[in-house]
Amino acid sequence: MAILPPPVGDGTPPDLVPRQEGIRRYDPAGKGEFLDKIENAEDLMELNMGPQHPSTHGVLRLVLGLDGERVRSCRADIGYLHTGFEKSFESHTYQQCIPLTDRMDYLAPPMNNLGFALVVEELMGLEVPARGQYLRVIVVELSRIASHLIWLGTHALDLGATTVFMYCWRERDRILDIMEWISGVRMMTSFIRVGGLMADVPEEFVPMVRAFTTDFQQKVDEYEGLLTSNPIWRQRTIGLGVISAAEALGFGCSGPTLRGSGVPYDLRRARPYSSYDHFDFEVPIGINGDVYDRYLIRVREMRESCRIVEQAIEALPGGPTNSPDRKVTLPPRSEIDTSMESLIHHFKLTTEGFRPPPGAIYHAIESPRGELGFLLVSDGGNRPYRCKVRAPSFSNLSALHKMVQDELVADAVAVVGSIDITLGDVDR
């Protein structure tokens, strides 16, 4: 299709240029756009973005229908990372499912551990001691900060700000050091187990976390100094990828994607779990529902998470971390040497696991991406009969075509970054 060059200074308004068959009129104002919108969907140019594209943050394929540089249609093709976790759950005992959950949202693995542990504990009516709950909160809030740091770094990198990426990686590495110190693993920690934790934390844990939280707020100031009032950053993000609150709810969006549209919904506040009601924190919300608002919310959330960690460290109670119920949690190593009962429990738990009562239950937690829910159906056996994972990235991504409608291709990259998907979470 030929492009008619812009008329040269004869003062003729563009609408009066005679229309020629097969030639599309060009916007003389120099915005590089066509005046006629393509009506027929078949005439759009189809562009595959991904599955191997650095800005899709994994293996996401977007089929974009382009009219010039404008995105007129967008279809997300997912499933490249489908691993069948929900089928695998059905053939593993409950404790064996914990390492599987790590691999779903691989940027915040303790979140998945916590979600799964809480749903099983709720089904069994199990209470975790206060120290266990506080340590869980510290670990998941640190992982929320780590996840938001990755998001901020890669999102800024997508839009051309390379320095932020280096800074974010620096801070995330300190969180991974803490994770390594308490669990032995940097990423897939499996630290939170059904009935409590893998183990109590070593004594270096508290000073390490304190050292992290004391200067973290200044680090966030550094990121904000680079981005928040940066004119390039603001031009690239303000007013882009807008979604209204009603639309976001209909699509099942949650987390910063929903709060960016001004809905103050946070499961830590609305339905507190794991003693979140003991802590003082704010739920930041946006006004416009655009990429910039979602950016501001996540940056504020990092600060709030840091505050929660500080409070939890200050008020960290003593005592045991795991539920005393020997039918669920492993007995301490020292007890096995002296007690026959403990040896039997240890043997039964490691070979067979435990058997929750029959029933169906849904429990959701607030992951960095939104509502991470587990729907668990038990038939009384030692494996889940059915475990459905309500992945926040999946629902958030299903609203993508609304957000990128009529935006530029380069801006689609920013929108995909702003909803912060993890493909392991989308495809499961």
């Binding site: 499933g79 209909g250 699509f251 849904y362 829910g373 609203a399």
Partner: protein, 142 residues
């Protein structure tokens, strides 16, 4: 529609939908919708038990977020939704056979051949001519 807009319910948020397979029941699939009301801070379960080859009306016109979840349900369980705009596989490749989350779907592993199940485990040309313990040439293979 009433659930979404009625002030006394206001289940605005499409949380998720899924299916639970009970192969021994006549109404085999429990199609389960979860809806959340932010105002009332409440979660609603809509459970629709259906027979194996049933087709149920899609909720995607009321809750656009259910569109992908229903595609996932179709993909993994084979439940069909009438009125769905694009009922295709979402997680698995388009040419995949079967619906993996059904309980009777064989998901992994190869059949291991023992003498008691050799007819089932191996096709006729792969079966050995003589089973262990038989005398070569004397006994016919069962």
């Amino acid at each position: 529609m009433a659930l979404r807009s009625d002030p006394s319910t206001l289940y605005e948020m499409a949380v998720c939908m899924t299916c639970i397979d009970w192969p021994e029941r006549e109404l085999r699939f429990e199609v389960t919708y979860l809806l959340r009301s932010l105002v009332h801070n409440d979660l609603a379960w809509l459970i629709v038990p259906v027979v194996a080859d049933a087709e149920i009306p899609s909720l995607s016109s009321v809750y656009p977020g259910m569109e992908w979840h229903e595609r996932e349900c179709f993909d993994l369980f084979g439940v069909r939704f009438s009125g769905h705009p694009d009922l295709t596989r979402i997680l698995l490749p388009d040419d995949w056979e079967g619906h993996p989350l059904r309980k009777d779907y064989v998901s992994f592993g190869e059949p291991v051949a023992f003498t008691h199940n050799i007819e089932w485990a191996l096709s006729s040309q792969d079966r050995p001519e003589y089973l262990p313990g038989a005398t070569r040439g004397a006994v016919e293979r069962p």
